[in-house]
């Protein structure tokens, strides 16, 4: 089965015009169109830690900067750090002469052997977490600056809104003519007073400009050792180590700190047209099930090339395909040629498809264990077209005549098949699912022209 080796041999045309193998497509049950990961809306579903598999609400994840508070990565190799326990002799506070053993914990990388002791971090008394986080030394400066900008921005916004208001008020002036002075006055005065008071407050607050930093006139020269002492490469960090902690960017290995493990997310996919979910994972990160999973492989018949063939130009070759039915209903498939396709990018051969309808048996989970391959009598197959039939699968032959001199033999045709829309059936219960006819364009790369 060539398709097992290379899923890209048989590709289906997605509704967005790209071609993908069936395993990478989704079928929207509401639009009844194929969708690929490129033409659906990806959404972040639930963040979780890939190490301790603890999921956390999105708001909490945001607050923790998308990092797990308990799990750490090695700053050198990125492997997950392990907690190690040791016992240390501690001086007994009650009896200074004696010392008692005490459990202490440190972190070590089981891959590259880095430990928190390497960088001089003292051991911890508790096993989980509690490692001090570094603070950005400039955080205070940045925040005061940001506060002052915020105040200015607020004022700018207020002023803009006031302008809007002033405009409206100028119209209100006309109302005097009609004897509405008192009402108009009320309108006029109140906002004006309000505005003034805000303005005064702001005048006090805003123009305190952020304190300027002292300009630097000279910088430290290079340390003189750099010209004489050899560099100890093992003490200088790589660029990737530095960028792993963007705010600190330690240049020396002694400044490396354990890195909080970054969270991962489960994504859900949504159709852009009808906004229905195409894929929604379970909330629990331990579960690999999906709440909704509309992968195309579960809904449309899958075409595969059964055996690879070699081709000679302008000579008819018989190719065997298999079709399998993922649906629990018998499905009729019609294969239709594409007339007048001249684009040799997709079509380098003529294909003679079976004229008759192909009826695929329904998918039955138990049939896999049934190896008495008896042919069910309900199908009357033409043995010249249908080569074999097993459970929900059938093999059929088609004649292919390459029209190119060399290179890949590619064919393209339409596959029209029945589809029972179970989504509609849920809405109106105890009814047979509605029968739809779907049409997919299929692109097949059959093989190469032999020498």
């Amino acid at each position: 089965m060539a398709t097992f080796m290379d899923v890209n041999l048989v590709r289906y045309l997605c509704s967005c015009g790209k071609r993908y193998p069936a395993c990478r497509l989704y079928l929207c049950r509401h639009c009844l169109k194929l969708r690929c990961s490129d033409c659906v809306q990806h959404e972040v579903d639930s963040p979780y830690c890939p190490n301790c598999l603890e999921n956390m609400p999105a708001s909490e994840a945001k607050l923790k900067k998308n990092r797990c508070s308990n799990c750490f990565d090695c700053p050198i190799c990125g492997h997950t750090l392990m907690t190690r326990a040791t016992s240390q002799m501690m001086a007994n506070p009650d009896d200074p002469g004696k010392s008692t053993p005490k459990k202490m914990y440190y972190m070590a990388c089981s891959f590259c052997r880095w430990t928190t002791r390497d960088v001089g971090l003292p051991d911890r008394v508790v096993a989980n977490g509690g490692w001090p986080d570094e603070d950005n030394a400039d955080a205070k400066r940045i925040n005061t600056l940001l506060e002052s900008y915020r105040a200015v921005a607020q004022r700018e916004k207020a002023e803009k809104e006031r302008k809007k208001y002033v405009k409206r008020r100028s119209h209100a002036g006309f109302q005097d003519k009609y004897g509405l002075t008192s009402v108009a006055m009320k309108w006029k005065i109140q906002p004006a007073v309000a505005n003034l008071s805000i303005k005064e407050k702001e005048n006090e607050k805003v123009p305190s400009p952020p304190q300027m930093v002292e300009p630097v006139t000279d910088f430290d020269p290079l340390p003189p050792e750099i010209f004489t002492e050899p560099v100890q490469l093992e003490k200088v960090t790589h660029l990737t180590h530095r960028l792993a902690a963007p705010e600190f960017q330690p240049a020396e290995t002694v400044d490396l700190r354990p890195i909080h493990k970054h969270l991962l997310v489960r994504r859900s996919l949504r159709c852009r047209e009808c906004e229905h979910n195409l894929s929604k994972p379970d909330f629990n990160p331990l579960s690999i099930k999906f709440k909704i999973q509309l992968i195309a492989l579960n809904h449309i018949p899958e075409l595969r090339i059964m055996s690879p063939a070699t081709f000679t130009p302008n000579k008819e070759t018989v190719v065997t395909f298999t079709l399998s039915n993922p649906s629990v209903y018998n499905t009729v498939v019609k294969l239709l040629p594409i007339e007048g396709e001249t684009d040799t990018d997709y079509m380098t051969a003529k294909i003679e498809l079976p004229k008759a309808d192909l009826v695929l048996a329904h998918h039955d989970d138990t049939a896999v264990y049934d190896d008495s391959s008896k042919i069910s009598p309900e199908f009357k197959d033409d043995p010249r077209v249908i080569v074999f039939r097993r459970a929900n699968k059938l093999g059929f032959v088609a004649k292919v005549t390459p029209i190119c001199k060399s290179g890949d033999v590619k064919v393209s045709f339409q596959m029209k098949h029945e589809f029972r829309n179970t989504a509609a059936a849920i809405q109106s219960e105890d009814k047979e699912p509605k029968l739809e006819w779907l049409q997919q364009q299929v692109f097949v790369r059959l093989g190469r022209i032999g020498q």
Partner: protein, 404 residues
Amino acid sequence: MPLFEGLSYSDDKNVYIIDLGSAYTKCGLAGETGPRCIIPSTVKNTRTGQVSRIWDYNSTAELHENLKELLSVLIFRYLLMSPKDKRVVVVESLLCPSEFRDCLAKVLFRHFEVGSVLFAPGHVLSLLTLGSACGLVMDVGYRETLVIPVYEGIPILKAWQAIPIAGKAIHRHGRIKSQLLENAVVKTAEHQDQPVATVPESLTEEILEDIKVRCCFVTEYSRGQAIQDVTLRGASASKLPKLPPAVEYPLDGSRIVSVSGKIREHTCETLFEQDDDGHSVAALILDSLMQCPVDTRRELSENIVITGGSAMIPGFFHRLKRELDASAAKPPYRDALGTKGFKFLKPPARENYTAWLGGAMVGALETLPSKSLSRDAYLQRGRLPDWCCLDQDMWADDHAVLRR
């Protein structure tokens, strides 16, 4: 309690700040003191495994696919927030090609369906981190060094100066590679020495960059002049200052290459060598000042801000200051410049994310919605406003949309 805090905070922190640099992409959320991640601006093709840089594109279609890929990594690996209807601040260079901006806007608005995008020039944003409105900003990045003076928050566009000499010139196409190929020797475990030139494929971009970061430095002014005398002006090699010791650099588990003191000290001279037009990184600042109105020069020269990852090489600032002082005392500038010495401002951030931090500040302000381009406005107009083609209709449209 933390949950509650999270809920109340959640509104103003949901702004993406993205700085797509030529070498590294900085990305994070508004109002924070540092980016969430700094990752290489590259995408890996899932089928072929080939890594390609997003700025090295042959067609807009390729760029479109790559940007889609990179942004989805940023959003779903690092930011972990659904992009729909989010606000985005893009930190860009004023010299960013329109093709790139248009493509980025298309990806953000049409593919990720973000709510609004603000394209903000990195040089102005860098100044914002200092709370000052005037300054001469130099960005020593990966592909180019760009100087733009900013006066009262407005970039003086006629005075911009750029040279294509920055981080890339040092390691990728520059000295480190050629000198290693020329005379370095690889030692293997079997004690067989072979010249690097026989195994050029082992000098990958990453290794060259790593050698630059871990071994090289910008030497002092006097030594630098002596080196330039020898390498450029043909003085005798005996005048060369004593080289710093070589570094045994492990290429992989079994091979070691010796990075000579010459490579360590001489490579970064690329930045300060004046080319035929007299351009060097230091001369850019002076040339830019000369283009500025005379009454702004003093203020600008006393508010110099240096950003960009390549400025983080040890010794860069010290050397730059000396170069500026020395060049300013020489003829073309001595009489015309009209400044009194140079002063620098130190932003509260590492050089490689200074512009990003400015973006994070803009993104946290209430005025962000009124300053950025909304999705509706973009979809209606179909293109992006651009400073280099201000056409009146476009702005009229903009206001009409805003009013609605």
